[in-house]
Amino acid sequence: MGYVLDGEGLDGLVRELARDYLVFAPVRKVGAGRFTDVDQVIYDFVDDASQIELDAKSDYSFKELLTPLSQTLFYYTEDQVREAGGIGSAGDPAREGDTRDVLVLMRACDLHGVKRLDAMYLHNGPEDSFYRRIRDRVHFVLLGCPQTFEHCFCVDMGSNVAPDNWEFSLERSGEGYACAVENESLLPLFERYATASRDVVPAHVTQNDVHVRVPKTVPLELRTSPVWDEYNHRCIGCGRCTLVCPTCTCFTMQDVAYTENGRVGERRRVQASCMIDGYSTVAGGASYRKQHGERMRFKVLHKVYDFRQRFGYDMCVGCGRCDDVCPEYISFAACVNKLSDAVDEWDAQHEGSVARDA
């Protein structure tokens, strides 16, 4: 079923939804950007349609709900370990005790991203209890995406069309807003607030400006190829690319003592980045991948090769946030294409012996 809403209708709809659900959506934070008087679009809880940023790509992804930037796992007292209860850091700690389900508004690429997070947290080894706890409460609202943003390459990654796990869709249309409703239990709500009903098919991107060629196979020899060398001096290892990525999942444990004698404290996990110093450092100080080019290889190959070897599909969903955020103007998309060129060249030189990885 599809519906058309005007501004007032959307206000009413969101306000009513926000009574039954926590609503987590991209929000324009005025002046919260890196530079003076630059806005930032970050996910947060909303209770009003006017707070939702429908038009811009979010700078940081929805993943901060499912895998918070900083999440307390346990509290320690003298002789007890108590599991932390809340859904974590996303938004306001005051929402910790809130047990309502969560509606998350996201675009097709990010919905594909959820599948990647699930793969890591639910299917790679034992289930992650903390992830499971929040994941079971999350439902999705698809934000229709009529046209590509800068740096997006969802079409080439096959993530431009949303998977079917959303409750309803939302996008601007000539009449105001158009929604396709998949969850029948929400129909009465839409009947109440819609100005009309008509067939609605959520818009999706069919053409990006950026094109990426993902290599089918990457010979071992190319993992030490000169492709990566330029990043030794270009990359500064800040990790922004991975922190904005909707599919990066790494974390580091932090144990903290509140008091001098160390008897009370907490264990938390914080998002980690394979691009930032210390990621691979073991107790005693030894570390792998000291060069930024090696870190770039580790990250890029994971996104377009290693993950696929393990799970059968590529990790990267082509949202292009990494290219949006890099302060050194390093393009992940360009890097993947350079890698593919190098693979082609290698294949041409080793014709006949290519059957190896196929």
Binding site: L73, E83, G125, D128, S129, V256, S280, V282
Partner: protein, 266 residues
């Protein structure tokens, strides 16, 4: 500690015994009744300080596991404060470990350096108890005579298997072998290197050169097994730190066949 389905919650385990090898290396014998095999590891959890992955260095089935710990960081520093009768928090065991049965028939070479002896200790015990202990060649290297671990075991193994104990360097007058473990690989008296099994565990350069030596000796790649050590924050395939290519050391390892591990590039 409350029992929980949450894999991040550690369980409490009593320290049955503390064995001091050197100033920096202790073995903690921990009460543990579950299933475990050599080469697997536990996360030793010290609230307020953190967790550290420690491999199992000895097993008494249904009773205890030994954790040999080198004091190198904040967590292990804290663990060293533990005494007999006290409890530590553990998670695990994690990882695949060694399939001991695979090594007991026929010829086998074990090359271990430093704390790398821990994960293979159980394997060596099985080799010593096998029908053909004389076909089992164990090369164990330490930095210096003062750094020796498992002295009692070494003395016992001496009489059971073909044991080569060596140190990288020693003061003048030292009676034993001096030199890197790799020095002793070419001289191994293997009857049929092409069918012999080998296990290599130790610091990365030592493993690289030992494998090279074994291949030169005629061992087959698929008969060589290595155990990898990487930074880990969870042991559950989540934190990402131990990933190498498509493999997770905590889930798919730490024991890898060399045909696989040679494909892995950090």
């Amino acid at each position: 500690m409350m029992p929980s389905n949450n894999p991040y919650i550690p369980f409490s385990s009593k320290v049955l015994k503390v064995i001091k090898h050197t100033e920096k290396e202790y073995t903690f014998r921990m009460a543990f009744g579950g299933e475990v095999r050599p080469g697997q590891f536990f996360e030793v959890s010290v609230p307020k300080y953190g967790e550290a992955p420690i491999s199992v260095s000895g097993i008494v089935p249904g009773e205890s596991v030994d954790l040999t710990i080198r004091r190198v960081g904040v967590v292990t520093n804290e663990v060293f404060e533990a005494y007999e009768g006290q409890s530590l928090l553990l998670r695990g065991p994690y990882g695949n470990g060694f399939e001991v049965e695979h090594y007991v028939d026929g010829e086998c070479v074990v090359v271990a350096g430093g704390t790398g002896v821990s994960p293979v200790r159980g394997v060596v015990e099985a080799l010593a108890a096998s029908a053909t202990p004389q076909d089992k060649h164990v090369i164990v290297g330490f930095r210096s005579p003062n750094d020796l671990l498992f002295r009692d075991d070494l003395a016992r193994w001496e009489n059971l298997v073909d044991l080569i104990l060596t140190v990288d360097g020693a003061p003048e007058g030292y009676q034993g072998n001096v030199g890197l473990v790799t020095k002793f690989i070419p001289g191994l008296p293997l009857r049929d290197p092409s069918t012999a099994q080998a296990i290599v565990v130790g610091p990365p350069p030592m493993m690289r050169f030992s494998v090279k030596g074994l291949l030169e000796l005629g061992l087959a790649e698929e008969n060589i097994w290595v155990s990898q050590e990487r930074k880990m924050c969870c042991g559950l395939g989540k934190c990402g730190h131990c990933r190498i290519g498509e493999k997770y050391v905590c889930l798919d390892g730490p024991v890898f066949n060399y045909t696989q591990s040679k494909q892995l590039l950090d």
